[in-house]
Symmetry: C2
Subunit: 365 residues, 2 copies
């Protein structure tokens, strides 16, 4: 428990500031205490790159490394790219992941009451699982390391290590132990998603998964090949409890999963290591709607709740856990009551939704 | 136009023989001519490996290379693996892909009348696009080449070449030119699906895509990052016409796409090179239902139609094109009339469905 938590806040590009700024007020309201979170804002992103030539300033890096947690809005402007064609706006997230060793990307997928499910006949409560994405290696480790030969061929290495697999699989089993199990049958289950039938490194992932699983005999285990996994998430999402997978596969299935619960606008994300954590919604900077005040704030708000949970557990601070609970309850109520932005077929602005949520957390026990 | 076409037939494992054998009779009936297709059966697969220690005999390889086309049922038994953990049953498909340079994997995705769509509110005709999967390189090129170091790390190289990208992108544009366009707006459109924002080799894929696109000014182009692509296929499938992508990504999104049209049981696949073609349904060997006579034959039947089309176009043989048309019409009618196996909530056996389809093609003009 600390007297105050240092939070590095980076609003980022596009709709980033529109959703991130009001989230700070919501957290303060949920904590019933200004100053317990000490918010310090730092610049990063594609817009900052355009203005200054630097997309991720040294001062921001240092602040992120030193903070108790990092809260981020969204980043990226299409077309603002490095010479190798990759995006400048993503540096903030990707560099933090690797330099701070944020090895676990935890993406809760939950269909809320009030949200239209794009899957026929699926009801609120029937989708409730967690995608645990390895966040420190896999295909993403190739970023910046890929090579192009004579303009004739390009190579990116896909690297998976025993250490990397072991710790992410362990995290997945721990989350399953803390969970209520899959919606369909209440069974606590970890699904290993890979491509072990074709590729060496994914077969290795599965092998290490099997070894780690021996330490968790109370949890059911199963495998799913990545291609079949995408089908299952559409055809029987209620079967899943915790899914663990390599970095790139996690990137892919967490977006697909978000689509099944109403879109990325509702999907939070927690990226944590041993002593650092980065919290940001799963969506991007949506430049097409930036500045219009219609950005969906729920993914951001739920990411802030993830931050409070992680800090609360890590520091044994019940005040933070209580605040996280208030924010989640407010979000669930807000959605159930139809307080939504246009992307969810609602009529409210970002600010109107946020005012309602602040009112709710303030009025709670 | 030939007097006779040599077809190498490999039934494979599990449900393979149950769907592949009757497909031959359907093709003969659709052609109104026995012997125009000269069917020669060869063994391969995990069961053959279990019996003989050889999953893909030399004689079968040679026959595949020499044939006008290869027709395959399905292969694989879980757990029958090579020392590196990859599956024996997949050798047939994977080795053929690489040795015969079957660089284009063409997967038509179409929602048929009569089939329940798992996506809310989506109707027959609203999903009709083609996934064009690069089939000769990308992450799959690593198969058998991945390495494991001291049991501590595993590496698979992801390789993409200008030649490989160029020819698959060209194939995608040609298919778009021959198409009716996307269901939503009739626009002929090729979507380049990649991860250019993060990885060098995918940025290279996009760069070559842009170069090739200049030769097809009549076709609209767009990009989709793989993670967003999976969302789009769930949230706005009718937008798509032709999607072109790297090998692994194509594997993933073609399965997801199949889920949106009623499952892999309905999804055909054509894998073609310059002078060889392999035709097989997208699904696996489904060992759990093998021998029960309930395997869904539509994916196999539609794959046989793909074979006739490809041979017909390649050899200027209208008889084959007509037969392909008859089979597709019969399949569409069969589904619309509810002649289905249990996986599609029907009550018929594989044999009963096939008898109906044979009756239909025999009765057609
Ligand atoms: C922003 C981008 C680098 C990122 C990724 O590809 O990992 C995003 O898609 C995500 O899922 O977090
Ligand atoms: C059978 C297997 C090798 C194959 C693949 O992974 O390519 C299958 O999933 C497919 O999509 O054709």
């Amino acid at each position: 428990m600390k007297d105050r938590y240092e939070i590095a806040v980076v609003h980022g590009d596009g709709i980033g500031p529109e959703i991130c700024r009001p989230a700070l007020g919501l957290v303060d309201a949920a904590l019933r205490q200004d100053g317990l979170m000490h918010w310090s804002e730092y610049p990063a992103g594609a817009e900052h790159f355009q203005a200054t030539g630097d997309g991720f300033p040294e001062a921001t890096r240092k602040a992120c490394a030193a903070a108790d947690a990092i809260l981020h809005g969204a980043a990226g402007i299409p077309g603002v790219v490095h010479p190798d064609g990759t995006e400048v706006g993503l540096d903030f997230t990707l560099v933090n992941r690797f330099t701070l060793d944020l090895y676990a990307n935890i993406r809760p997928i939950r269909l809320y009451e009030g949200v239209a499910c794009p899957l026929a006949g699926v009801k609120a409560g029937e989708i409730d699982y967690i995608v645990v994405r390895e966040n420190s290696e896999g295909l993403y480790a190739a970023r910046g390391a890929g090579s192009l030969l004579r303009g004739e061929m390009a190579v990116d290495p896909l690297v998976q290590t025993r250490k990397g697999i072991e710790r992410i699989v362990r995290k997945a089993f721990e989350l399953a132990q803390q969970s209520k199990g899959a919606p369909s049958d209440g069974v606590r289950r970890v699904t290993c998603c890979d491509k072990a039938n074709v590729l060496r490194s994914y077969a290795f992932f599965r092998q290490v998964f099997d070894e780690v699983a021996l330490d968790y005999p109370d949890i059911e285990t199963e495998y799913a090949i990545i291609d079949a996994m995408t089908m299952h998430l559409v055809l029987r999402p209620s079967h899943y409890n915790v899914i663990v997978t390599e970095n790139m596969f996690g990137d892919i299935i967490s977006d697909l999963a978000a689509a099944t619960i109403g879109g990325l606008g509702l999907a939070p994300s927690a990226e944590v290591g041993v002593s650092n954590g980065l919290f940001q919604p799963s969506h991007g900077s949506a430049p097409d709607i930036a500045g219009k005040g219609v950005a969906n704030p729920y993914g951001m708000v739920l990411s802030a709740a993830e931050m409070l949970d992680w800090l609360g557990h890590g520091n044994g601070d019940d005040r933070l856990l209580a605040a996280a609970g208030r924010i989640r309850t407010a979000a669930a109520e807000g959605l159930a009551e139809g307080h939504m932005t246009p992307d969810l077929k609602g009529k409210l602005s970002t600010g109107e939704v946020m005012d309602i949520l602040v009112g709710k957390v303030a009025g709670m026990a």
